[in-house]
């Protein structure tokens, strides 16, 4: 709880320094064009649009993500990963609505469905529903956007795959001359595949339909950007996902009233984005480090001990032509139950872009552990294509 007070204090100090109650009802739409042009006939200055019931349809897109691979452990496989439909649109002047629906071999699921405010005062944005919590950098990227074919172990095991969560989040853009954004959130838990925070006993008992406030997960994050000249920049972020009490550990009710879980992350992204010929040349070096601290049960589920484990990844993506990019990556992940055990992944990718709407990726990688097991050698070919609505969002830059 102390950590949260510190985060809240800093948040309030920086927020208060920019408080300005200037919320006005949005003005009426400004008709900036006295003689609007027509798309179908540029010289037609006086045509009236006829009624079109589809004019307020949401923007829609479809993403296909598939992989063909061979690993020394699991042999060959064609992995249809997902066909993802995304919808977005304005509800009214105050809210936007977003939905991402994912079809996978396991069925169709709602990956994200949330509202976001557009007109709050004090540089605030609120979103609520199901979304990828704003923890770290890559944890809230969809699988097909990642710089490697499969989510690396540090993201899978520490965050619980994508940072999918049901909850509410508030973001604030600080009134500083430099970019500084803060996030506070509250959720059931964070992680699309994070059964450790289920707060149930696995047999239908426990906090199934609700949970105490101290069993929710709370997030604090600060994110800033440091420009280094015109061509270079550094993104820096720090995140803390805190669950004050885990009532159930490994499916067994924990007697420890202080069984809190803390996931801390630091993300650093260095970019080279030259101002000239940057369609062909850019470099991104991304790194995240995680620390997980939680009470874990031994295999008999009778002994509970606090375990602290570390993990992290680093990758480089070098775009050296309009068509190609390439780079190495690595991951180190300690076992959450036994931090003395770890896995290490080393790999490299080669990407081909026929346009900004498609990407073909070849990845060679090897997963090792420190128990002398035979490494898993992997070859993957991934293809990603998209049609429909084309929006450059801030986090994808």
């Amino acid at each position: 709880m102390r950590r949260l007070y510190y985060v809240l204090s800093v948040f309030l100090i920086l927020t208060s320094s920019g408080l300005r109650a200037q919320y006005n009802a949005p003005p009426a739409q400004v008709n900036a064009s006295a003689t609007p042009f027509s798309q179908t006939n540029p010289t037609d200055m006086g045509g009236r649009a006829t009624y079109n019931p589809s004019v307020t349809n949401p923007a829609m897109g479809l993403v296909l993500d598939s992989v063909a691979g061979h690993t020394s452990k699991n042999q060959a496989q064609f992995d249809f990963r997902s066909a993802e439909i995304n919808l977005s649109g304005a509800v009214d002047p105050f809210f936007n609505l977003y939905g991402v629906f994912n079809g996978t071999p396991n069925g169709v699921a709602v990956e994200e469905a949330f509202f976001m405010t557009t007109s709050l005062p004090w540089n605030l944005t609120v979103r609520g529903g199901r979304f990828f919590a704003n923890f770290g950098r890559l944890p809230h990227w969809h699988d097909h956007e990642l710089p490697f074919v499969y989510r690396v172990n540090s993201l899978d095991q520490f965050v619980g795959a994508e940072a999918q969560s049901d909850g509410v989040e508030v973001m604030h853009l600080f009134k500083t001359p430099f970019f500084l954004q803060g996030t506070l959130g509250a959720y059931n838990d964070i992680g699309a595949n994070n059964p450790r925070l289920n707060q149930t006993d696995g047999n239908g008992g426990g906090h199934v339909n609700g949970r105490p406030l101290d069993a929710l997960t709370y997030l604090g994050r600060l994110f800033t950007y440091i420009p280094i000249g015109d061509d270079y920049g550094l993104d820096l972020g720090a995140s803390e996902a805190f669950t004050p009490r885990q009532y159930f550990v490994g499916g067994v009710r924990s007697p420890d009233p202080h069984a809190a879980r803390s996931l801390t992350g630091i993300d650093i992204t260095f970019r080279w984005l030259p101002l000239t010929e940057n369609v062909y040349r850019k470099l991104t070096w991304g790194t995240e480090i995680f620390r997980n601290d939680e009470v874990r049960a031994d295999p008999t589920a009778t002994v509970f001990n606090r375990k602290t484990a570390a993990a992290g990844y680093s990758y480089v993506d070098w775009r050296f032509s309009h068509w190609w990019s390439a780079g190495p990556f690595g991951d180190y992940t300690e076992n959450i139950d036994d931090p003395a055990s770890n896995t290490r992944t080393y790999g490299a990718v080669l990407n081909f872009f026929s346009s900004e709407f498609s990407r073909f990726r070849l990845q060679l990688s090897e997963v090792q552990d420190n128990h002398g097991h035979t490494p898993d050698d992997q070859v993957f070919l991934q293809w990603f294509l998209t049609i429909g609505s084309h929006v450059h969002v801030f986090k994808d830059r």
Binding site: R2, S9, I13, S16, L19, L173, F179, T276, F394
Partner: protein, 302 residues
């Protein structure tokens, strides 16, 4: 909570601050040439910054987080429109948390509002490359559009600052008078260009070509935003020879290699041109950008 925590908490609760009420309008323009025209029209009543430096491809201006506070604190944003800035501006406006400069609001100053665009696609499909569905947005390269840009900016500044409408109108008229004088001079200077044939790297020189009477016979790109394939380059060489195209317009944001190769194959000369102000040392202003392009084309055709 210990004393330190209580203290920081209290400071947080009671610290107040407000941005000083500025005497000037804070305007963010997407390109340096628009920033220059805004300064000309706004005079001492505006403080203007440009997001792009001018050397970038406008379709790939980076979404630098350092742009976000500028937009957050801006009274207005001046843009080319016609989705020219689609790769960076909408995302930045989303994060900037400034409702006053969103599309349709008084602070959203779209210089395309009265432009009749060239090359409005009749077929909209990604098979045709990275199209601009509302038409070619690179009208700022045509000096005849300069007065319409100034009109749009004056209207926008007047919306934001009605008491100074007369000042903005007078500044705009001064700009237009200087533009008209320069255009007389440019017409005489560029008469030799009329009727010549050329290619450009990307389809963003159409407005300039129309102004100069230059006939664009093709682009180095296979389609807008799609790099050339070897076959396309072979066909382009043939076409340039058949059409006797003597000029290659190489926009500064694209690689020189292909243009030089094409020049070697066809004998056409390369002119390095700007699609935004700030691309070259002598093109920092709107007039500078136009004059640089005219001079470099004339030099190439000499």
């Amino acid at each position: 909570m210990n004393k330190f925590l209580r203290l920081t908490f209290s400071i947080g609760l009671f610290m107040l601050g407000a941005l000083p009420a500025g005497a000037v309008l804070r305007i963010v323009a997407t390109t340096p040439d628009l920033a220059d025209v805004t300064r000309r029209v706004g005079g001492d009543l505006v403080k203007v910054e440009s997001l792009a430096k001018g050397t970038e491809d406008i379709h790939a201006v980076p979404q630098r987080p350092s742009f976000v506070p500028k937009l957050n604190q801006a009274d207005g944003v001046v843009l080319l429109g016609l989705e020219a800035e689609h790769a960076f501006l909408p995302a930045l406006l989303d994060v900037a948390q400034n409702p006053n400069i969103l599309r349709g609001r008084p602070g959203y100053i779209d210089c395309a509002e009265n432009i009749v665009p060239l090359e409005v696609p009749t077929v909209i499909s990604r098979a045709e490359g990275e199209q601009h569905p509302m038409g070619n947005p690179h009208y700022n390269t045509d000096p005849r559009k300069g007065s319409m840009i100034a009109d749009a900016i004056a209207r926008g500044l007047s919306r934001l600052d009605p008491p100074h409408t007369g000042v903005y109108a007078a500044n705009r008229d001064r700009f237009k008078k200087e533009l008209a004088s320069k255009m007389e001079e440019w017409s005489r200077l560029t008469a030799p260009i009329r009727g010549k044939k050329a290619v450009s790297y990307h389809p963003d020189m159409s407005y300039l070509a129309e102004y100069l009477g230059l006939d664009l016979v093709g682009t180095i790109e296979l389609k807008a935003g799609i790099p050339p394939t070897p076959r396309h380059l072979e066909e382009l060489v043939r076409k340039m020879k058949d059409e006797k195209a003597s000029l290659i317009l190489r926009e500064i944001q694209y690689s020189d290699d292909t243009s030089r190769w094409l020049s070697d194959q066809t004998g056409a000369k390369v002119a390095a041109v700007a699609t935004m102000g700030g691309a070259f040392p002598d093109s920092q202003t709107y007039f500078g950008m136009i004059e640089h392009n005219l001079r470099t084309i004339l030099e190439a055709l000499r």
